[in-house]
C-alpha cells in the first residue's frame, strides 16, 4: 500500500492525465461532428432558401456559401471555427442569424428541467424497485412488476406520449397537452420519459442484484449472520455501486434522445428540439455548437463518475494500472 504522500501525488498525476484525455476526446469529437455534417447530403444554403420559399439559384447559393465560409477548405473551416470557440463564440445560426450561444441558453431552461426531473425520478424509482425485485425474485409481486416492465419496453416513446396525451388531455382532461409554461405542463412529458427509461433501469438493476447477491463476499457476510432485511440491501448497494454508475453514465445520452422526441410532441421550446431542427436544416453552427455542448456535458459527467469510481474503490487508480489489484 502506497504511503499517503505518494498516493495523493499519484492521484494528482492521474487527474491531470485524465483531464488531458478529456480535452483530446473533445477535440476529436468536434472534428467528428464537423466531418459528419459535411458528408451529409444536402447543403445549408439551398435548405435556407427553400425554407423561405425562394428558389435556390446558383448565384445566390454561391453567395450565401461564401458568406458562411463554406467555400473554404475543410481544414480552414475547422480551424476558423475552433478559433472562435476558444474565444467563447459559437458563431451565428444560418437560418436566424442570431448567435448560437444565446439561442442555446434561451432554450436550455426547459430541456434541463425536463431531463433532470425525469432522470432523478427514474433513479429514485428504479433503484429501489429493481433491488427489491432482485431480492424477491420469483415471487408473485416480482412477476407482476416484471410483466409490466415488458409492456413498458415494447411501447415506443412517441406512442406512450400520445396515449398519455389522449388519456389525460382529451378523454379525462386534467392536464395541459402542449407547452411548457407552468409546472403542470411538465407532468405529462416527464411521466412519459420516466416511464420509458425506468423500465429499462429497473430490469438492469434487478439483474445486477440477482447476480451480485451471489458473489462470494455477500455469501460470506450472510454466513457471518448478516441480517438480510436491514443491512443486506445497502451492503449490496455498495458493491453494485460501480456497475450501476456505469449504467447511469451510458444511459445519459438516451435521455437526450428521448427529450428530442418528447419536446417535439409536447411542443417544448427546448434545446433538444432546437438541435434536431438544425440537423434537418443543416444549420452547421447550431449543430456544432449544440453537439459540443451535449458532448461537454456527457464527458464531464463521465469524468465525475470516474472520480467516483476512484473514491468508491481505492484499489482503482484513475489511469494507470487500473486492472492490477
Amino acid at each position: 500500500m502506497a504511503l499517503p504522500e505518494e498516493r495523493s501525488e499519484v492521484m494528482l498525476r492521474s487527474m491531470i492525465h485524465r483531464l488531458f484525455m478529456l480535452v483530446v476526446t473533445f477535440v476529436l469529437f468536434s472534428l467528428f461532428v464537423f466531418t459528419l455534417m459535411r458528408l451529409a447530403p444536402g447543403d445549408p444554403a439551398s435548405m435556407l432558401l427553400l425554407e423561405i420559399g425562394a428558389v435556390p439559384e446558383q448565384s445566390i447559393v454561391a453567395d450565401l456559401q461564401k458568406q458562411w465560409g463554406l467555400d473554404q477548405s475543410f481544414i480552414q473551416q475547422y480551424l476558423a471555427w475552433a478559433n472562435h470557440v476558444f474565444q467563447g463564440e459559437l458563431g451565428h445560426s444560418f437560418s436566424s442569424g442570431e448567435p448560437v450561444l444565446s439561442e442555446m441558453i434561451e432554450r436550455l431552461g426547459s430541456t434541463s428541467k425536463l431531463i433532470a426531473s425525469s432522470f432523478l425520478l427514474t433513479l429514485f424509482i428504479s433503484i429501489p424497485i429493481g433491488i427489491w425485485m432482485g431480492l424477491n425474485e420469483g415471487t408473485m409481486a416480482d412477476r407482476v412488476v416484471y410483466s409490466m416492465t415488458i409492456l413498458g419496453l415494447s411501447i415506443p416513446l412517441y406512442w406512450l406520449a400520445i396515449l398519455l396525451m389522449y388519456a389525460l388531455g382529451v378523454i379525462w382532461p386534467v392536464l395541459p397537452v402542449v407547452g411548457s409554461s407552468t409546472t403542470r405542463h411538465y407532468i405529462l412529458p416527464v411521466t412519459a420519459m420516466t416511464l420509458v427509461q425506468s423500465v429499462y433501469f429497473i430490469r438492469m438493476v434487478r439483474s445486477y442484484t440477482i447476480q451480485y447477491s451471489k458473489f462470494s463476499y455477500i455469501e460470506a457476510a450472510k454466513a457471518r449472520g448478516l441480517r438480510p432485511s436491514i443491512f443486506y440491501p445497502s451492503y449490496l448497494l455498495r458493491s453494485m455501486f460501480i456497475p450501476i454508475l456505469t449504467l447511469i453514465t451510458t444511459s445519459l445520452p438516451s435521455f437526450f434522445g428521448a427529450s428530442i422526441i418528447t419536446e417535439t410532441i409536447f411542443s417544448f421550446p427546448g434545446f433538444s428540439k432546437y438541435m434536431l431542427e438544425a440537423i434537418f436544416r443543416r444549420d452547421f453552427p447550431v449543430i456544432q455548437g449544440s453537439a459540443l455542448f451535449v458532448a461537454a456535458f456527457i464527458f464531464v459527467f463521465n469524468f465525475m463518475t470516474d472520480l467516483l469510481y476512484f473514491l468508491a474503490d481505492p484499489r482503482v487508480h484513475l489511469d494507470k494500472q487500473r486492472w492490477e489489484v
Binding site: S46, S96, V170, P269, R282
Partner: protein, 531 residues
C-alpha cells in the same frame, strides 16, 4: 447509506412536491380567456424579426401585420389595397400608384409615399429577394407627392402587381421600424404596419400574441387578441383542439392531418371549414431516364393514374398541373389525361414492351419497366400514402415503382442537385396564384440554368414571351399554349388538388376565408360566442 426506505421516502416527497406545485399555478380566469382566440401554428412566428422586406418569420404573420399595395382578388385580378388606383404604361416599364388617404400605421405615423419608397427600396436591397422581378428590374422609386409613387423598371415588367400582393417581401412597413428612422439599410427594431394587427407579446418557440391595431383603416378592428400557439406535432394539434387549449387550427400554418378529420366530423362542438387552394401535388419526371424519355411511357403513366383514389377521393377532379383558382386557368384550357388503364397498356406495348405474365410487369430486352420514386414525408406526411396509392396504380398497368422516402434535406438535394430519381413527388407553391413564377422556377430551361422539372425549348420560349407581354389577354393566349404543350408532352403527372381545411370550435363564429393562402383568414372578423 440510507437504505431502500430512504429512497422511497425521497421519491414520495418529490412527487408530493411536484403535485403541490401544480396547485399553486393559476390558470387564466374564465373572463380573460374569452377575449383570446388561440390558433395552433406549426412554426414559430419569429415576431421579433418580422421585417417586412425579409423572409424572416412566418408569412401568415407578415400578412396579418403588413398590408400590400394591391390585393390579389382571384383569377388574375387585383383589387386596391393601400394603393387605391394605379396606371401601367403601355411598355410595362412604368407603374404609377395612387395611395389611399389618411391611412395610419399602428404607431400613428401616416402612410405616405416616403414610407412606400422606403419599404420597396429596402426589399430590393436584400440579396435573398434577388430572383424576384421587382428586385431584378426596378430602376428607381420616385415620390412626386405624398400620395403618389412612381416605379420605373429597366425592362418590361409583367409580374409587378402580383409580387406586390404577396405576403412578402414587398409589403409596406413604417420607416419608424428601423433605426435610424427611414434608413433603407437601418437595423430592424419593431414591426409597424398598417394591417389589422400588431404584436403585443412574443415568447420564442411558445406563442405570439397579436392585438388589434386601433388605427386600422379598412374595417373595424377586432375586439379580441389573437394568439398563435406553436404546436409542432400534428397529433398534438388535434388533441389541443379537443381539449380546448386551442380554438382553431388548419390550413398551411397549422395543418390538421386528413386522417384525423373524422374525429371532428358529426361533432356539434366543432366546425370544419373547407376552402379552395392553389396548391397541387404532382410528380416531377426525369426525362433523362430512358423509359421516361419516351413520350408514350409518360402518357401511359398519366393514363394509368387514377386520381380519384388519392386522399380517399376527397380531392377535386384533377386536370393539369394547376388548380382552377390559379390565374389564367379556365375549365377548358388545361387538357388532361382521363383514367384509362387499357390505353396506358396499349401505349406501353406500342413502345415495344412485352407483358411478362409471371411477374405481372412489362419488360423490354429482359429489363422490367421499373421506376424510382423519391418522396419526403416530413413536410407532407400525406405524400407517403399517396405514393403507395400511386405505386398500386402503376402496378395495375405493369410498371413497378420503388419508393424511396428520404429525409428532407436529402430529398431537396436529390431534386436540385443529384437528380437521382426517375419520379419525384413535388407540389406547386401556395403563392402560385399566377403560374408564371412557378413555371419559370421549375420549367424554364436555358443553358445557364437547366430546367429543374423538365427541359423543353418550346415551353421556355413561350415563357420568355409571357415575360415580355403586358396585355393580360395576350398573356392568356400564351398560357393556353403553355398548358397545351405541357399536356401534349406529358411533362408531369398531376396527383392531387389540395384544399385548405380548418377546424375550429363551434364557439368561434364569423369565419371567412381570404383570397390568398398566405393570408388565409380574415382574422379580425372572428368572434367567440359562448354556447
Amino acid at each position: 447509506m440510507f437504505g431502500r426506505s430512504g429512497f422511497g421516502v425521497i421519491a414520495v416527497v418529490l412527487l408530493l412536491f411536484i403535485m403541490g406545485c401544480s396547485q399553486h399555478v393559476s390558470s387564466p380566469s374564465a373572463a380573460e380567456e374569452d377575449k383570446n382566440i388561440v390558433v395552433a401554428v406549426t412554426q414559430d412566428t419569429e415576431a421579433d424579426k418580422l421585417d417586412a422586406s425579409t423572409y424572416n418569420g412566418s408569412r401568415h404573420t407578415h400578412a396579418a401585420i403588413y398590408d400590400a399595395l394591391v390585393d390579389y382578388k382571384g383569377k388574375g385580378e387585383f383589387a386596391p389595397s393601400l394603393a387605391e388606383s394605379w396606371e401601367i404604361s403601355d411598355d410595362g416599364r412604368t407603374y404609377i400608384l395612387h395611395l389611399q388617404n389618411q391611412v395610419m400605421f399602428s404607431d400613428g405615423s401616416p402612410l405616405n409615399s416616403a414610407a412606400v419608397k422606403f419599404s420597396l427600396e429596402r426589399a430590393v436591397s436584400r440579396e435573398e429577394n434577388a430572383s424576384l422581378e421587382i428586385s431584378r428590374l426596378l430602376q428607381k422609386v420616385e415620390a412626386p407627392d405624398d400620395q403618389t409613387v412612381v416605379l420605373s423598371f429597366k425592362d418590361t415588367a409583367t409580374q409587378v402587381l402580383y409580387e406586390l400582393s404577396q405576403a412578402r417581401p414587398y409589403r409596406i412597413m413604417s420607416p419608424n421600424s428601423v433605426t435610424p428612422k427611414g434608413d433603407v439599410n437601418g437595423t430592424f427594431q419593431k414591426a409597424i404596419g398598417t394591417g389589422a394587427w400588431k404584436i403585443a407579446e412574443y415568447q420564442p418557440g411558445i406563442q405570439t400574441v397579436l392585438i388589434p391595431n386601433d388605427h386600422y383603416w379598412l374595417e373595424q378592428p377586432s375586439d379580441y387578441s389573437l394568439v398563435f400557439k406553436v404546436i409542432t406535432d400534428p397529433q398534438a394539434r388535434v388533441m389541443a383542439l379537443q381539449s380546448g387549449e386551442v380554438d382553431l387550427a388548419g390550413g398551411e400554418l397549422g395543418n390538421i392531418p386528413m386522417e384525423s378529420l373524422p374525429v371532428f366530423q358529426n361533432n356539434d362542438n366543432y366546425v370544419i371549414e373547407t376552402g379552395s387552394s392553389t396548391m397541387s401535388y404532382f410528380m416531377v419526371i426525369n426525362q433523362h431516364n430512358t423509359s421516361l424519355a419516351d413520350k408514350n411511357i409518360r402518357q401511359a403513366i398519366n393514363y394509368g393514374n387514377d386520381t380519384s383514389k388519392y386522399a380517399g377521393g376527397s380531392g377535386d377532379p384533377v386536370r393539369g398541373l394547376f388548380q382552377e383558382k390559379v390565374a389564367f386557368i379556365s375549365d377548358s384550357n388545361q387538357p388532361s389525361y382521363p383514367y384509362n388503364p387499357e390505353k396506358a397498356k396499349q401505349l406501353i406495348e406500342a413502345s415495344g414492351y412485352q407483358w411478362n405474365k409471371n411477374k405481372q410487369l412489362y419488360e423490354k430486352d429482359g429489363q422490367a419497366l421499373q421506376l424510382r420514386l423519391v418522396i419526403q414525408s416530413e413536410e407532407y406526411p400525406e405524400w407517403k400514402e399517396m405514393a403507395e396509392i400511386f405505386q398500386d396504380n402503376m402496378k395495375q398497368i405493369g410498371i413497378q415503382i420503388h419508393i424511396v422516402n428520404q429525409e428532407r434535406a436529402a430529398y431537396y438535394d436529390t431534386l436540385w442537385s443529384t437528380k437521382e430519381y426517375d419520379l419525384l413527388m413535388y407540389r406547386t407553391y401556395t403563392d402560385a396564384q399566377l403560374p408564371y413564377r412557378f413555371l419559370s422556377s421549375l420549367f424554364y430551361d436555358s443553358p445557364s440554368s437547366p430546367g429543374v422539372a423538365y427541359q423543353d425549348k418550346p415551353l421556355s420560349d413561350l415563357l420568355d414571351q409571357i415575360a415580355a407581354t403586358v396585355s393580360t389577354q395576350q398573356q392568356q393566349e400564351l398560357f393556353n399554349q403553355v398548358f397545351l404543350r405541357m399536356h401534349e408532352e406529358a411533362m408531369s403527372v398531376p396527383i392531387y388538388y389540395a384544399k385548405q381545411t380548418f377546424v375550429h370550435s363551434s364557439q368561434v363564429v364569423d369565419f371567412r376565408f381570404n383570397a390568398i393562402e398566405d393570408n388565409p383568414l380574415k382574422w379580425h372578423y372572428l368572434k367567440k360566442e359562448a354556447k
